[in-house]
Symmetry: C2
Subunit: 343 residues, 2 copies
């Protein structure tokens, strides 16, 4: 079913059909002709061949999401959901590729995408960090999703981690906690990103800590201390870190955990020490993952705005006026039962 067949059926030239179907009005086709073309196209169930159109116009109605692990790991991939929603409104479809953080794979994948005439790229990271986008990317419009440029400027969308840090501390302050608040989940000196992603310094960590310190400083307080984890912010990490903390004789009134999995581990360590949440120790964390709903009591967690990140990134990609600046999306606190009054 080609445009030529539609033209034949309508008794007009191929040009005329093309003009009608692409909505060009500068040719002032007669209403009657326009109608005849429309009718013929519909009767034949004609759909334009996008490959041919792309070859001719250089536009494909196709965007790619290039990420480290986003589409293959849990949770983070709600970004894909937001992106797909926004793309559907623009009649555009999405290539998805994960590079596992491997530069060689990344180059190969981007080459392969460029060969296919894509209209733009969302360059995404599983967690918030600074990245150096590959040089190839400059051949096409792109937006950084959940990451910021390590050097220079670029259009980027990230969660507002500093504000989230402030919110976490303010929630505890509101319940009367103040001088015995610990942060669980800093990284060992020289390690910036856990076992699986050494060197990928998560902005989430530094910015959340900064926000926490800001909020505490506002009331003349400071963190009682921070507790390191060895690994990747897992449940085991959280359990070990809090076990170690309690072994030092510390008496935390509240814990701010780097993420939900660490908080789940904190629950376990507290439980083993016969400390109750929230009666003895309050806990807040970040992520808003399914884990926050699966532990008892449900965790007060500041949720990553995954869907909104994906959506905004697409909007920026299509916005011709968009400046190369970093957009920060608010994180929302989802309250559970893990925060109670300070003793």
């Amino acid at each position: 079913m080609t445009l030529a067949q539609v033209a034949e059926r309508a008794g007009v030239s191929r040009s005329a059909v093309s003009f009608v179907l692409t909505g060009r009005t500068d040719q002032r086709l007669s209403v009657e002709t326009t109608e005849r073309v429309r009718k013929a196209a519909e009767e034949l169930g004609y759909r334009p061949n996008m490959t041919a159109r792309t070859l001719r116009t250089g536009r494909s109605g196709t965007v790619a999401l290039v990420s480290d692990f986003v589409s293959s790991t849990s949770h983070a991939n709600s970004m894909v959901r937001g992106a797909l929603d926004a793309l559907r409104e623009r009649d555009t479809i999405l290539f998805t590729v994960d590079t596992q953080g491997d530069a060689g794979q990344e180059k190969q994948v981007i080459d392969s995408l460029l060969d296919r005439t894509i209209d733009g790229v969302l360059y995404a990271s599983m967690f918030t960090r600074a990245v150096t986008p590959p040089a190839l990317l400059t051949q096409v419009p792109f937006v950084l999703l959940n990451c910021v440029p390590a050097v220079g400027v670029a259009r980027a969308v990230v969660p507002d981690e500093v504000a989230a840090g402030r919110d976490s501390a303010n929630e505890l302050l509101r319940f009367g906690h103040r001088d015995h608040i610990w942060f669980i989940g800093t990284l060992p000196p020289g390690v910036t990103g856990g076992l699986s992603w050494r060197g990928w310094a998560p902005l989430a960590l530094s910015e959340r800590l900064e926000g926490i310190r800001q909020a505490l400083a506002d009331v003349g307080a400071e963190l009682a201390g921070t507790q390191m984890v060895d690994d990747d912010w897992t449940t085991e990490d959280g359990r070990e870190a809090v076990t170690r903390l309690l072994a030092t004789g510390a008496h935390p009134s509240a814990l701010i955990c780097a993420n939900d999995a660490v908080a789940a581990g904190a629950y376990q360590a507290l439980h083993r020490a016969e400390l109750r949440v929230p009666e003895d120790v309050s806990v807040v964390a970040f992520d808003g993952s399914p884990i926050s709903r699966a532990i008892d009591p449900p965790l007060t967690s500041i949720a990553l705005p995954q869907v909104e990140l994906g959506r905004r990134a697409v909007e920026l990609l299509f916005d011709k006026e968009a400046q190369p600046v970093i957009h920060r999306i608010a994180m929302t606190m989802v309250r559970g039962g893990s925060v109670g009054p300070a003793r």
Copy 2:
């Protein structure tokens, strides 16, 4: 950078370049010519335009994953990971679209994909169920991923849920449980799929139950009973179901939960009734999601083979000889500390 430029630089015809670059040997080009073309292509950094090639050959090196929620929800999307791995080996890239289970969106999306000359489709479901693939799909090779055809036959890959059911029961039998094993997570009569997906009868439920019953029957036993949930196999569902069960005066020695989230809720209900896992009650579940690691003790859970499902689906898609049959992939038990000896 086009093929014509390579031809000019090498001093040969465009045909010759095409033959060399596509690896056609039936033309018996001289070694010297072949070499000259290779060198010219490399020096110019030539990469073929896939759009032009697709227009000419009708093949695009592109596959689409069409699903309800797979790429936008947690956990299930590890299927994407498996698919991407297998596709990379075949130099093929992946379109991802989620239809939210809406037939209108699905039709629109498949039309849009067909317009782009895709080589095949993976038609996927978030959870294992029977589907009626849209008629449009027959225009292109396809494989059902995590679902089976409601009528007729098709190439399909699903987890071996019956075997998983048997494994769950056998694990409990091994620890001496027998006559007080309950299943948590059946659906109310007439409801087949929870609030969000009414009517999407999950095969997971019926097949896991069947496996459980088989294994128990093998030793002359049967389930003590089943407990319904109202909703979508959430933590709240599990908590309520087990609370209700205990209120009846039942004394389960072990629970088999429909999934990890339900098990997390079961833990909570048991804990509130001052019953310990596994000393008082053993628990096993299905999924192998991050939740199974976040609860205490870690849950013995039979993991969905997500990555393997995705990988196998791609292999079937590219296998010209593949018959329209259902392939079942083994689920693997990941042992936690939630199963102990029967009292």
